[in-house]
């Protein structure tokens, strides 16, 4: 494997592409720094003009208004200028190549690209390219194919740390469509790096990728076995197009066997928390009583997500304290 493209020669974060290979110290730096932005009393995120004068481009080759908005709010709270581009609607539809688009945007005096793309690994291609043509630009991966969603994983880690304190004694279960989930992969790498000893994934075999054990994860196909004594449950979103077809027969049958309900969660630790990266399919992967219940920390995740993205943006731009 080549030396990590995410770090510069001094070992500092230069692009955030994946939690895999991200040093523990860098992860903790992000989590610590994000903590500075959160007012826990009022559950609010503070403003800080750390990126005044900087321009951030949200380049979304795959549509996602919600994710784009979270990055936009984070950038705005740091006083950066934000330019939003839904590239799938504009240039690539006219036949412009991915790297041509990047060249054009790099020429517009950008300091950072927040990139989402439907293909795994696309941000690596972009990062290698800007290292050649515009090395001052930092890349933040906002989700690439099935591969990675590092800011989601870091906000999940922030949430876990907030509610559970340390990582070293935890049991964490990730439930749902792991095969297609960039969130699951990024969470797994972050959890292993931070020292979580027991990481489980729970899904039918059609939704589990190969090589899970090599990633340090124990696969389960039985929900109740997998949930036994866990401290944290992370539910994954099931995409509509996968609910009926060759992966699964129906959302009803899925919910019956893998939907998170209060009853199923009885085998988890009494103080277990339930997380979800959103948007939720109520009645498919999660029951409303759980989503709105006492264990749910889903709305905390949203708040913390802003702070974590602010932390990453300021660390990448070397403007953090």
């Amino acid at each position: 494997m080549p030396k990590s493209i995410q770090l510069n020669a001094r070992g500092e974060l230069n692009h955030l592409l994946s939690t895999e290979g991200l040093p523990r110290a860098v992860m903790l730096q992000v989590l610590d720094h994000a903590r500075d932005f959160v007012d826990l009393e009022r559950m609010e995120v503070r403003n800080a003009d750390l990126l005044a004068g900087k321009t951030i481009f949200n380049i979304f080759f795959e549509n996602s208004t919600r994710t784009r908005t979270t990055f936009e709010i984070a950038a705005t709270k740091l006083a950066a200028r934000v330019v939003n581009l839904d590239v799938n609607k504009s240039s690539t539809a006219k036949g412009e190549s991915l790297l041509d688009t990047i060249d054009n945007l790099a020429a517009m005096k950008a300091d950072m690209f927040v990139v989402r793309h439907a293909q795994s690994g696309a941000p690596y291609l972009i990062a290698r390219h800007v290292n050649q043509v515009a090395p001052h630009i930092h890349i933040m991966n906002a989700g690439d194919g099935r591969h990675a969603h590092p800011t989601q994983a870091l906000l999940d880690m922030f949430t876990i740390r907030h509610f559970k304190g340390e990582f070293q004694n935890l049991r964490v279960a990730i439930v749902g469509d792991v095969l297609h989930s960039r969130v699951a992969r990024s969470d797994i790498h972050a959890l292993t790096t931070l020292g979580v000893p027991d990481i489980r994934v729970i899904a039918p075999l059609t939704l589990l990728p190969s090589g899970l054990r090599e990633m340090g994860v124990t696969p389960y196909t039985d929900l109740e076995q997998g949930l036994a004594d866990v401290d944290v449950v992370i539910a994954l979103r099931l995409q509509n197009e996968r609910m009926r077809g060759a992966m699964l027969p129906s959302p009803q049958e899925y919910f019956k066997h893998y939907g998170l309900t209060e009853e199923r969660l009885r085998v988890a630790k009494p103080d277990a928390i339930v997380m979800h990266p959103g948007p939720m399919n109520r009645g498919v992967e999660i029951d409303s009583l759980v989503a709105d219940g006492a264990r749910s920390v889903i709305l905390h995740q949203v708040t913390f997500g802003i702070a974590v993205r602010m932390a990453v943006m300021s660390i990448l731009n070397r403007t953090h304290a």
Binding site: M1, P2, I5, E20, S97, L98, L99, H117, Q119, S120, G121, A122, Y124, L125, R128, D144, G145, R146, H147, A148, R182, R185, P209, S210, G211, L212, E214, M215
Partner: protein, 432 residues
């Protein structure tokens, strides 16, 4: 005659890397081989190649090189790729039918053969399309195509979904004693995959191509060979399990042969690294275990040949996210040094190694070629076995730049190539 086929003396080279000989070439053939300095009465060389320290080898026979004509001239041209062939010591090559339009009509094949003949470099043997337009529906005029110069029939990497059509195509080919060349890939299982199904693809979030994609098709193909009796050549095998099936089928006596691409001797899925699209290749690079099984299969005769599977891809089609990049690796010029590096690492005897690039593929083509003997055709290459060579884009003749080996240092380089007794390529070699 003497003008188009000059008298050439290759002086003092090691024939087949073992025995120092002077090689006398006249009229397109090897006239004689003598002890160094012994001389040959009445022979007046027009050129003398000083080959001391070099190996004199049969010209390589490459079972798959895409020349990209007609239709893909923006990826490569006949001129550039024929130049790459002789620069790699390849004097005879098979080109698959996946051009645009595909090689499904005699006129296209005749034109390609004609253009190649005008260049007067390596011998070109096209494969004809097994079905019209490679669509997998209607048989091509195999007899006409054979008359035009096709040496076999193939779908290349295009799926042939309908097993009934495959069966009929094999029956028809058997009627005229033609060879069917087939990739072993199920048209459905893992069809959208881009990397070997395993821990690496799982971790990287890349759709996988399971080994069963290869094995299931092999079961199908072998059963159809049993039914039809057709001679089958299997292209680019990739997995340990697949090779084990081939081993058993050969032991059973089925009329099959098989090849592997040279880059599969060296790379595994781990080499994809940070999504290097130069490692996007069909079939995908598999695990270390599979790579070792390929090495074994080359040594025990399960595999008959190593080919370059040379596939120039333009930058626009390669500089894309891994899953969108066009598969393919260039290899004509790296075929010999990469094979020799593999043989050194696995301690494979030189004679055996060379056979995989010469007599092995010649047998598949049913041609008397790939050997060095008096009276034989003078298709030869001179090779400096220890010359260090840093692979850079500038050192390659092919128009393609798509190879994960750029930046690597290899040992061994082709110094001169002769086709039909004519010196068609030389690189820093003294002639008098």
């Amino acid at each position: 005659m003497s003008q188009s086929f000059p008298n050439i003396l290759i002086r003092g080279g090691l024939v087949l890397g073992t025995e120092a000989r002077d090689v006398y070439i006249a009229g397109g053939s090897i006239r004689a081989m003598t002890a160094p300095g012994a001389g040959l009465a009445g022979f007046e060389p027009m050129h003398t190649l000083e080959a001391e320290g070099l190996w004199v080898l049969p010209g390589l026979i490459d079972l798959s090189a895409r020349l990209r004509e007609p239709g893909f001239e923006y990826k490569a041209t006949l001129e550039s790729e024929m130049r790459a062939a002789i620069a790699g010591g390849v004097t005879r090559l098979v080109c698959p039918p996946d051009t645009d339009p595909p090689l499904d009509e005699p006129g296209l094949v005749e034109m390609l053969k004609h253009r190649a003949r005008l260049l007067a470099q390596a011998h070109v043997h096209p494969l004809g399309a097994l079905t019209a337009g490679l669509k997998g529906e209607q048989l091509t005029e195999m007899a006409e195509l054979t008359e035009a110069g096709c040496v076999g029939f193939s779908q290349s990497t295009h799926p042939l979904v309908d097993t009934q059509v495959l069966f009929r195509a094999m029956q028809y080919a058997k009627t005229f004693d033609y060879t069917v060349w087939a990739y072993a890939r199920d048209p459905w299982l893992g069809a959208s995959g881009v990397a070997h199904s395993g821990p690496t693809a799982g971790r990287m979030g890349l759709p996988g191509v399971p080994v069963a994609n290869e094995t299931i098709r092999l079961y199908t193909l072998f059963e159809l060979v049993r039914q039809t009796g057709v001679r089958l050549h299997l292209c680019r095998l990739s997995s340990a399990a697949g090779l084990e099936l081939v081993r058993k089928a050969k032991a059973e006596g089925l009329p099959i042969t098989a090849d592997v691409a040279v880059h599969h001797l060296h790379m595994t899925d781990l080499d994809i690294g940070d999504y290097d699209s130069n490692c996007r290749v069909d079939p995908p690079f598999r695990s270390q275990r599979d790579r070792e099984a390929i090495a074994l299969a080359l040594q025990d005769g399960t595999l008959d040949a190593i080919c370059s599977d040379h596939s120039p891809v333009d930058d626009d089609a390669k500089q894309l996210p891994f899953g969108e990049a066009e598969p393919g690796v260039i290899g004509l010029e790296l075929l010999l040094p990469l094979t020799m590096a593999w043989a050194r690492d696995h301690k494979v005897a030189l004679e055996k190694t060379l056979a995989l690039l010469t007599t092995g593929p010649a047998r598949i083509l049913k041609r008397d070629a790939g050997e060095i003997r008096e009276g034989g055709q003078a298709d030869l290459c001179l090779y400096a076995p220890q010359e260090p060579w840093l692979i850079t884009a500038d050192t390659l003749h092919t128009q393609g730049r798509n190879t994960p080996f750029i930046g690597r240092e290899l040992e061994g380089r082709v110094k001169a190539t002769l086709v039909d007794g004519r010196l068609v390529y030389r690189q820093g070699l003294t002639t008098t």
